[in-house]
C-alpha cells in the first residue's frame, strides 16, 4: 500500500510523543515499564471496583478514562463519532476475555510488550515472537474469509455508553467512596498523579484516534498488504521509550534479571500467552488499545470487547490464572515467579476456543438458511 509522507510523519511524531509520555508516567510514579498497559490498567480498575480481590492490583487508572474520553472528544470534533454495533457481540466478548487471559499470563498487553522491550526486558522479545505468530495464524483465517459479519447503526445511547462509564469511573476515582478499593502496596499502589495520568490518557487517546495506532494492525497490515504505516508508529514508540529509559536509567538488558519490573522468565508461556493475544486480537480487528479508542468513537462492538477484557481480568485474579511476577526480597531472596497450572490450562483453552471461533466464522459452519 502507498502511504503519503504526511501520514508517515504524523504516525512517527505521535509514536515518539506516546513513547515519551509512557516513560514520563513511570518517572512520575507508575510501575516499571507500565507507562501504559491497557490490560494491566483494566485489571487494576476492575480490582478498584472490587470485582477481584488481588490486593496489590486495585486502582481506577485515569489513563484508561483518558484514552476513552480523548478518543470520544476528538471523534466528535472530527465528525467521526458513529454509534455502531451488533456484529457477533458474544463472540467479541469471549475473544476479549481470552485476550485478557493471554495478556495476564504474559504480564502485559501489546503496548506494554513494546515498553518492556524498550527497557531491555528480553522476555518481551519472546512475547513479540509469540504475538507475531498469533497474528500470522489470524491472518491465515482472514485470507480464507474470516468475518464477524456486519455492524449496523445504533442509537446514540449505545455509542455514548462507554464515554459515560469513563466519566462515572473518573467521579469514583476523585471522590473515592468507601466501596472503592485502592491498593496500599504492590503495582496498584504505584501511580503518577491523577491529573497527569488523565491528561496523558487524553493526549494518547486523541493521537490514537487520529492516527488509528494499533499494535496488532501494524504487524497484520505488514503481512497482508506490505503496509508499513501502523508498524512505524509501533517502532517510533519503541525508539522514544528506549531513549527515555536510557536517559532515566531504567534500561536493564536481560532475560532472567528482570526482578521487580512485573515480568517472569517462563519462555514457553510468555510465547504462548502473547500468541493467544495476537491471534484473538486479529480476529477482533485490533489490539486492546484500539478497542478502547473505537469504544470512545461510539463502537459498541468494541465496548463489549472491553467488557470481555474486564471480566477476563476479574477471572484471572479470582482463579489464579494471572502469572506471578519475579521479585527479590529486601534480603536478596529471589522468587522467579511464573505461570500457575490454572494459568497454563486457561491459555490452552483460550487457544482452542479462539481456533473454534476462527474456523466457524471462516468456513461458515453454521450458515443461516437464507445465506445458503
Amino acid at each position: 500500500m502507498k502511504t503519503s509522507k504526511k501520514e508517515l510523519i504524523i504516525i512517527s511524531v505521535f509514536g515518539i510523543l506516546t513513547g515519551i509520555i509512557a516513560v514520563s508516567l513511570v518517572f512520575f510514579g507508575n510501575p516499571a515499564n507500565m507507562g501504559f498497559c491497557i490490560a494491566c490498567f483494566i485489571r487494576d480498575t476492575v480490582g478498584g471496583l472490587g470485582l477481584h480481590s488481588a490486593g496489590v492490583v486495585q486502582y481506577i487508572r485515569p489513563e484508561i478514562i483518558g484514552l476513552i474520553l480523548g478518543s470520544f472528544l476528538l471523534s466528535l470534533v472530527r465528525k467521526e463519532f458513529a454509534p455502531k454495533g451488533g456484529s457477533a457481540t458474544i463472540t467479541r466478548f469471549i475473544l476479549g476475555f481470552f485476550v485478557m487471559v493471554g495478556c495476564l499470563v504474559f504480564l502485559g498487553c501489546p503496548f506494554r510488550m513494546i515498553l518492556r522491550l524498550s527497557a531491555g526486558d528480553l522476555n518481551a522479545l519472546i512475547g513479540l515472537l509469540g504475538f507475531s505468530c498469533g497474528i500470522g495464524v489470524g491472518v491465515f483465517f482472514l485470507k480464507k474469509g474470516f468475518s464477524l459479519k456486519r455492524s449496523y447503526r445504533q442509537p446514540v445511547t449505545e455509542g455514548v455508553a462507554m464515554p459515560v462509564i469513563a466519566i462515572v469511573l473518573l467521579v469514583l476515582l476523585v471522590t473515592a467512596p468507601a466501596f472503592i478499593i485502592f491498593s496500599e502496596k504492590g503495582p496498584g499502589s504505584m501511580h503518577a498523579p491523577i491529573i497527569l495520568s488523565l491528561c496523558a490518557g487524553l493526549l494518547v487517546g486523541g493521537m490514537a484516534q487520529y492516527s488509528r495506532l494499533c499494535m496488532v494492525g501494524g504487524i497484520r497490515d505488514l503481512i497482508l498488504f506490505r503496509e508499513k504505516k501502523l508498524i512505524l508508529g509501533f517502532g517510533a514508540i519503541f525508539v522514544a521509550a528506549l531513549i527515555g529509559n536510557l536517559i532515566t536509567g531504567k534500561f536493564n538488558l536481560g532475560l532472567t534479571n528482570q526482578f521487580g519490573v512485573v515480568a517472569h522468565f517462563d519462555i514457553l508461556w510468555n510465547f504462548l500467552g502473547m500468541l493467544l493475544v495476537g491471534y484473538g486480537c486479529v480476529l477482533l480487528g485490533g489490539c486492546p488499545l484500539r478497542q478502547l479508542i473505537l469504544a470512545g468513537e461510539g463502537n459498541s462492538d468494541s465496548a463489549v470487547t472491553v467488557l470481555g477484557l474486564a471480566v477476563g481480568a476479574a477471572f484471572c485474579h479470582n482463579f489464579g490464572i494471572a502469572a506471578t511476577a519475579a521479585s527479590k526480597s529486601a534480603d536478596g531472596v529471589e522468587n522467579v515467579g511464573g505461570v500457575s497450572t490454572t494459568g497454563k490450562i486457561a491459555v490452552i483453552i483460550g487457544l482452542i476456543v479462539v481456533t473454534i471461533i476462527a474456523i466457524v466464522n471462516t468456513f461458515q459452519v453454521f450458515k443461516r438458511k437464507s445465506e445458503q
Binding site: 455502531k84 456486519r150 497482508l224
Partner: protein, 86 residues
C-alpha cells in the same frame, strides 16, 4: 446488504481490514481474468466499494494508489463510495 458483483462491492458495516481484503480480491481476480495482458489490471477497469467509515476509505485509498489505480471517494449520508479506476 450483499456484494453486488466483482467490481461493485458493499463493505458497509465490515471492520478493518475486511474492506481492503475484499477490494484486493476483486483486483486480483481482474488481473487473473485479463487475457490481453496477464497479471495486469485491464485498462479502463473501474471498481467501486461502499464503506461506512473513514478508516476504510483511507486504507482502500492507500491500497488503490499502490496498485496504480486512481482513487476518488464520495460521501452519501453516513456512507462513502470509493471508486478505483485504471
Amino acid at each position: 446488504m450483499s456484494n453486488l458483483d466483482i467490481n461493485k462491492l458493499d463493505a458497509r458495516g465490515l471492520s478493518c481490514p475486511e474492506p481492503v481484503i475484499m477490494i484486493k480480491k476483486a483486483v486480483d481476480e481482474a488481473k487473473t481474468a485479463n487475457k490481453t495482458a496477464p497479471g495486469n489490471i485491464p485498462e479502463g477497469m473501474v471498481f467501486t466499494i461502499m464503506v461506512d467509515n473513514k478508516t476504510s476509505v483511507e486504507n482502500i485509498t492507500r491500497f488503490g494508489e499502490h496498485a496504480g489505480l486512481t482513487v476518488t471517494n464520495e460521501k452519501t449520508g453516513d456512507d462513502y463510495t470509493v471508486t478505483l479506476k485504471k
